[in-house]
Subunit: 346 residues, 4 copies
């Protein structure tokens, strides 16, 4: 195993360990959902039994529009984690993302930690993943290999300029990224999705991304896991103001969803979605899919896979309640003026 | 007594017991009245002695536009409670609502707890009551019987989707409700009123209700008794975010009153009206009648019927003061720009 | 001495005693000045030595546009208090108001407490005073006698509906007041001023007052002495929400000053002006004169007349500083956009 | 040494001593930067290695647009302080201002404390300095001598009306200042800059200044060092409300930068810039140069010159990060809508 590969893998282990605590949350910034309230509908004729979240995603049927966010791969724990998460995904019938496949490019040692996902995810969509910092150095053929390794249903490029900036091993260099994305979208066999990792994508960046041809945006906004925090703890620089850098998730979803008028894409709302009501508000603000990362990992490793399933199902049970109480028979109804800024409710 | 009837009656007893405490209030939401201030009028020519609150309601004369909200019926305590409350209502000359008559549909065991009201309310309006969840399964004839049982002056349908959702025995199913209301309004012998039970009715729902032909809306907004809270305590699920679900009473009154331009209806302001100044603000924001439930019950059972009377009279004494100080000779004057958002008063 | 006269005088003594404490301040409301900030002018060419506050008021020269507000009269202490305050007023050359002359109408026992003022106020304006509740029962001749008793330079009618409402001995009845004011203004020998006593006069009431012909308005807004508080302490009803009733002084001055466009009148800013910077902001918001009551009384009785003088002079020294720093050579310059809401200063 | 000269020098020593503590900060006012947030750009193609802050200032090349603000001169400590600061400035290649040259006008005793600056600042711009209160009494020739003494590259006139007002020895008299500035600008050999010392220059004053022909404005706003505080501690008058007088730095920069449309000038942002992120926001709001005074002095005297250098370099390293994360290759890009009021980010 090469030095660098071993480093990448060690770093990833460290990340997982830190993410099991809550110390890596934003400290002075929230995801913004607390500023919103649902508009209760005293008159509701929603039939709870007819609410269904089933839909097709990348050609496959899923039960809930909820994605287990890209997390691990390329570490000794990863194989085990991915295996358990995929079992949950397959049982619950939801899509799952794989952690950065960078490691897979470096050597073949942990290839299994990626492949296990596809082998267990028989029916649900699996999303490949690579960082933008790697992407700028790769050609489409190499990316296609990553897709093929997983038989991925879509491919995620994560944009993490803040993390690359702060990480001692970081590569804060994305020159040529938009061009690269454009040619990737043209030539690769599956839809491409762009995501952040906790600092958020707002309307302007989203528009530039959509103009390259990508088919999905995961805002991964501020207020949940602070990747700056993770890196700053590792560097022992916890006073650095970058810890709280980023755009609140609610703001990102709200502004990016305005682009739906002119672009056809999947809007994934994520970043600090750690409860049923945050998830519900993400949908109401315009998300097509929501996603969570750290809370899923915590549930999995602290309580076991069964509790990941329970959590997801209970969140959607709550969401059904919200839909019932806002007279929204379908998830799309929930997006039509069913939520308001709190300050307007007086 | 059938199982289910006995259950309903037991549940109602539990409700009453919980409502004697303050634990069932909203926890993170207020009724919104604290955001408003009256505009003092240094020049007032109001003649306090000529202020009168007398008016006709459903063809009967009342002294105060204040309703003792629908609460009990169908429990062993109910007969006694209703008896005492009705005596107060008759003495003070105010309308009184009866608790859900669902129990009366189930069996005849506690019919007296309802009938006692009419027998003591010789001169004041009495309002019948049924839940929307029951209404969808009933026909107009059955409802007419409930009206007749009480010789009711009006009939209230309570909309409580949140409660039905959370209640273990709940029936969160209101499909066909608007149609049902429409035919009810057409055929029943008395005016129909729609009310919530603490989550609020705002403009959009109100408009849909008024289009069915109902003649009154009791907003029963958030900030007072949380029925979600009541049910969640019973289920031992006190962390559930639905506890604080709902639209603040002030918001509901303010927005629903805008419909007065186009519809002819009685607007009842309620939901956490526990003090004289909250009641005064409810009128200033547009209510024709105000109503309280839990505080009345608490006064009654903790201090005795005499104190219910004292409370109501002292509230209206305070209201007279507010009218005097805002140069409002009639209650209708109080609704004309006599109140402002606090933030504008600088 | 008649019962009622003795009562009035006793009540007034009680008022004075209570006003020496700070317990009678508003509890949850401020005068609103803290929401404003001066706009610093780095470039100032103001000549501090040429700033003068001298002006003519009711035909007499005064050194400072500051009024010792109407307070006492008709009590055993009053003669002494008025004597000392007038000496200060005469020394500093500022106008002084006399407390309600109601007592003088009732009997002649304390006439001296009023007359002493004129005898010592050789050169400065003296203002007579009566409550609106008395005015409605008096004819112009009787008022003229009150003016003559003092050789008053102007006559103040105080509007205190809140106090009359709460005072056990109160007469909350002002029917006919505007007409009365109109004929008073026409026939009396001196200009008439209307004032509140701590609940404020805003634009709408001010307009109605100006239309009667009055020549001055003293807003006497909320945030300083709460007369409701005074009366509620006397009645042992300290939970009454009327304690904090009223319109903040800053709001009153700001809105009433807008009437300057169409009316010619003296705008007196008062109500909780207890510091130099509150006084300065009152001028900047549009007051022609400012006034204080309780703090003057407290200084006088707790520290002695010399400290009243020192306080007033130090306040105007501070005001000079404010004018210097906002490039305002004259007080009128200070009113031209030299102050902003704090929230705009970011 | 004349009395007055000795006094000036003693006062300056006292100032320095006080400024080593944090007691002289604003107490209830901030510089306002905390109300702003950068707009994260998930898509950035900035090449960190190509970011350069080098520019020409007054004909000389500097590495960073950062000015060590005018502080000392004319005291026994001054020579040493200035010597050390200039070494840092020369090493880092940044401009440096000299403290008020008033002392140099009074006698020649401490001339060296000024001259040492030029002798060590071989390549970077040096800024002369005089107070506006002195300027109004001087003619252009005298000022030219001050410029020549330093071979200054620009000349700063500090506007400190608040300080002059409060200082026991103060001369709060600036009559004729604008005219004086106009003739100075016409006749002196170097560009003239106007600055405040902690109370701020906003748009209106800035416009009046620019109309005289000055070429730079240093807003020196409120939120950092309170010179009123310094003087009030000396006078033992710490309750004086002037302590917090002034316009927040962020407000000043934001409003003065609007004048860039019509005027050609250097906008210097300063006043409480004590951290990297405050500096970054100052640029984003429109500053061409930023400056700090007290924190530099504190670093120098508490930690040594090396730490001044480290601080400045680390701030610009942080700024590079901010530029990277907001997709701003050049500092001028950072000024184009890369920052938002926090309240808009929900
Ligand atoms: C342990 C861990 C590892 C992660 N690794 C990746 C990754 O490899 N690729 C990626 O796109 N995002 C990665 N993320 C970011 C998440 O996908 C997600 O965008 C972010 O954590 C915000 O969501 P959260 O607040 O729900 O945790 C990782 C997150 C965690 C917690
Ligand atoms: C003990 C209790 C029983 C109630 N039962 C009924 C009912 O049977 N029907 C109904 O329409 N509302 C019922 N309510 C709701 C009240 O009418 C009212 O809308 C709600 O409590 C909000 O008002 P409050 O904040 O003044 O309590 C009940 C309330 C209480 C406290
Ligand atoms: C002891 C005392 C007696 C007062 N008596 C009168 C009065 O007789 N007539 C009147 O117009 N206002 C009277 N006032 C009201 C004051 O003139 C003034 O409007 C009010 O106190 C608000 O000002 P402040 O906050 O500076 O005290 C009295 C105030 C005090 C403190
Ligand atoms: C010790 C000290 C001495 C100062 N002397 C001067 C001076 O002589 N001339 C001047 O224009 N500003 C002087 N200033 C003001 C600074 O240049 C600066 O405008 C002000 O302190 C605000 O910046 P800060 O918050 O970074 O300290 C001085 C500041 C300090 C701390």
């Amino acid at each position: 195993m090469s030095e660098s590969a071993s480093n990448t893998s060690q770093r990833k282990s460290e990340h997982i360990r830190l993410c099991l605590t809550n110390e890596v949350s934003f400290r002075q910034k929230t995801n913004g959902f607390e500023n919103y309230e649902f508009i209760h509908s005293a008159i509701t004729e929603v039939d709870l039994n007819k609410i269904s979240f089933q839909k097709k995603l990348f050609g496959k049927k899923i039960n809930y529009p909820f994605l287990i966010s890209c997390m691990t791969g390329g570490t000794s724990e990863a194989e085990n984690i991915n295996s358990m998460l995929t079992e949950v995904a397959e049982e619950v019938k939801i899509p799952i993302g794989v952690g950065s496949q960078r490691q897979a490019l470096e050597n073949a040692y942990f290839h299994n930690s990626y492949k296990i996902i596809r082998s267990k995810a028989k029916s649900v969509p699996v999303l490949g993943n690579i960082g933008a910092a790697q992407l700028v150095h790769l050609n489409v053929k190499e990316i296609q290999k990553l897709v093929d390794m997983l038989d991925a249903d879509a491919f995620v490029v994560h944009l993490n300029p803040l993390q690359e900036l702060l990480q001692p091993e970081g590569e804060p260099y994305f020159v040529g990224l938009l061009n690269k994305l454009e040619s990737l979208c043209k030539k690769i066999s599956v839809p491409v999705i762009a995501k952040e990792v906790g600092a958020g994508i707002e309307k302007i960046s989203a528009k530039r991304l959509l103009d390259t041809g990508i088919k999905g945006i995961d805002v991964a906004g501020a207020g949940g896991t602070s990747w700056a925090g993770v890196e700053l703890i590792r560097k022992n620089e916890i006073e650095n103001p970058f810890w709280d850098w980023g755009l609140p998730t609610a703001y990102c979803i709200r502004t990016v969803s305005e682009l739906k008028k002119n672009y056809d894409f999947i809007l994934i709302g994520s970043g600090g979605i750690n409860s049923a009501s945050e998830m519900a508000k993400a949908f109401a603000l315009g998300a097509d899919l929501t996603a969570s990362a750290r809370i899923v990992l915590q549930k999995l490793l602290n309580e076991g896979p069964e509790h990941v399933r329970i959590m997801i199902e209970s969140w959607f049970k709550h969401l059904k309640g919200v839909m019932f109480l806002t007279n929204s028979q379908k998830l799309s109804d929930l997006k039509k003026n069913k939520i308001l800024k709190k300050e307007l409710l007086t």
